[in-house]
Amino acid sequence: MLEKDSDSETAAKPVISGLSLQARVLRKLTFIIPVIILSLIILMAIFADLAWLGLPDVRLAPFDPEKISMRDRLMPPFWAEEGSTDHLLGTDKMGRDILSRLIFGARISLSVSLLVILITSFIGTVLGILGGYLGGRTEAFLMRITDISLAFPPILVAMLLAVSMGPSFTTVVLAISLLGWAPYARLIRGETLRLREIDFVAQARIIGASPFRIMLKHIFPNIINPLIIVMTLQIGLLIITEASLSFLGVGIPPPAPSWGNMVNDGRNLVDTAWWISTFPGIAIALVVLSGNFLGDWLRDKLDPRLRQL
């Protein structure tokens, strides 16, 4: 009897831990690899040059990303026959170094995404909590605005704005933020509706807390987890939106490099100089995938209720 018990215990062990060793390692990797990729790209963006430290000559990028050199135009990457180790990833049709542009482009693409994430999550959270907690007409009004925002095709609106304001960094950030808050507002309102009915909110009211205090101190800390998950999942989407706008010529204006306008630069030469579009394309894909994997991992870790997102 006793032996049988201990037998079943050892047999049950892998079941208790839920997943086999292999599966667990794989799961860990879906966290570690994206974190490494994203950290590398972020470090790359920060140390592209040290002009922000007052050291304009110290830089990670081998060349000035905007320096035109017609002599070196359309050089392939170093492993190709005509390639050179001066320009590891080749040059574009104006002889600018692709690797340097890629490194500086990370700066622009990432800062657009981060700024937009901060702006949209702030607006979305404020409106979502207000709508969800106050209910009634406030909620109806805010949620109809959200629905309307969700109904507009974001690229079209961004193009309209870019055309009317002229393309610039600020325009891109504003254009994407203009509609980007709506998904946050939806999610946060839903979470707020759920939390509002839980007794600790009633308890806060009972001790005499004001609505503002309840929203800030009792509702908000409880929605941080889903908020972080959605913010992470948005990285990929925003990189793509920025790239799309730049690709369409209404994003970051040349000659400044962004991954989107780099892909655009190489569009007509894809069959002869494939490297111009391919490397920024790969960079976009890597960041988007990493963002999504990391977001998925965080979601499983922090909030299993959000599986459907």
């Binding site: 009634g136 839980i198 600790f200 009633a202 308890q203 009972i206 001790i207 005499g208 009792h218 409880n222």
Partner: protein, 322 residues
């Protein structure tokens, strides 16, 4: 005699929905004295909790509204206060304990933070003074090692301990009136007995008036001095606890007491009252209990019975009493 802390006169609370007006509380009157525990008993959905929420003016908006009546706390008419003044009353003068200790604490704050919030909202105190108040509130509820417990999160505590923390929050500003809305329903029997004994002690120490909402007559017998029995939004009988058990007058009260199972009586079937409570949307014109009443008379279906005081502190609304 100790003074009356709370007086409720002809309180009427309704919920306005698309289907119509639900009269959740319809003409309820009672009072609670200092150091006294007043029981509010009745089956689910009879208006006990809505009465409690009306006292705090915390009805779910915009559907719930107090449509009439008067609530006086220490001589202040609560109906005349604005929102801000009402917030100052809540937690300081009137406090409340909710049913489920598992959800009434915020999972992201420590116990000390949550009690401290109540203290800070009503008293301008320096941080270390707040800490003292928090610990004394925990001590009042006899939470062991309060100096360590203040740093615990709710998930580190058992249900009984959490309900004590909820009690500490409620008592932290030494309120005049405490509303306990079935605070022991979610606790098991031994913890329940402890909790009730604890509140008897706290009442002796602080003189707080307690409104104890429950559907459990065992709890009523244990803690309440006086009891009101509610049915379909109104009080059918109010009496001192001993009288309610010995000589209930209203047929509903006796039926309720009769339906409590006894250990010393072996019945094959549990006693139950036939039928269902009336819809609060269309109340019958006469006595609300008439359709289920075993002693119903003609007049019961036509007119509402008046409330008659038959002896000191014992009043009944029934046509059989006149």
């Amino acid at each position: 005699m100790s003074e009356v802390v709370l007086r409720v006169e002809d309180l009427r609370t309704s919920f306005f929905t698309r289907v119509g007006e639900f009269k959740a509380v319809d003409g309820v009157s009672f009072y609670v004295k200092e150091g006294e525990t007043f029981g509010l008993v009745g089956e689910s959905a009879c208006g006990k909790s809505v009465t409690a929420l009306s006292l705090l003016r915390l009805l779910p908006e915009p559907a719930g509204k107090i449509v009439g009546g008067k609530i006086t706390l220490d001589g202040i008419d609560l109906m005349t206060l604005d929102k801000k003044e009402m917030r100052e009353i809540r937690g300081k003068k009137i406090s409340m304990i909710l049913q489920d200790p598992m959800t009434s604490l915020n999972p992201v704050y420590t116990v000390g933070d949550q009690i401290g919030e109540a203290v800070r909202l009503h008293q301008q105190l320096h941080d270390n003074m707040v800490e003292d108040e928090v610990i004394s509130a925990l001590r009042l509820l006899r939470i062991p090692a309060p100096e360590q417990r203040v740093h615990d999160y709710p998930f580190q505590m058992s249900g009984g301990m959490r309900q004590r923390v909820v009690g500490s929050i409620a008592m932290s500003c030494r309120p005049r009136l405490l509303i306990a809305d079935e605070p022991t329903t979610a606790l098991d029997a031994t913890i329940q007995a402890q909790y009730i004994a604890l509140f008897k002690d706290i009442q002796k120490q602080t003189g707080v008036a307690i409104i104890f909402i429950t559907h459990d007559f065992g709890v009523v017998a244990n803690i309440c001095h006086r009891v009101a029995v509610m049915y379909a939004g109104s009080i059918v009988e109010t009496a001192p606890t001993s009288i309610i058990f010995k000589a209930p007058i209203h047929p509903y009260t006796s039926a309720l007491i009769h339906s409590v199972p006894h250990l010393d009586r072996r019945d094959d079937r549990l006693y139950s009252i036939e039928g269902q409570p009336p819809s609060l949307l269309n109340l019958p014109p006469g006595c609300r209990f008439a359709p289920r009443c075993p002693e119903v008379m003609d007049i019961c279906h036509k007119e509402q019975p008046p409330t008659v005081e038959i002896s000191d502190g014992h009043s009944v609304s029934c046509w059989r009493v006149k």
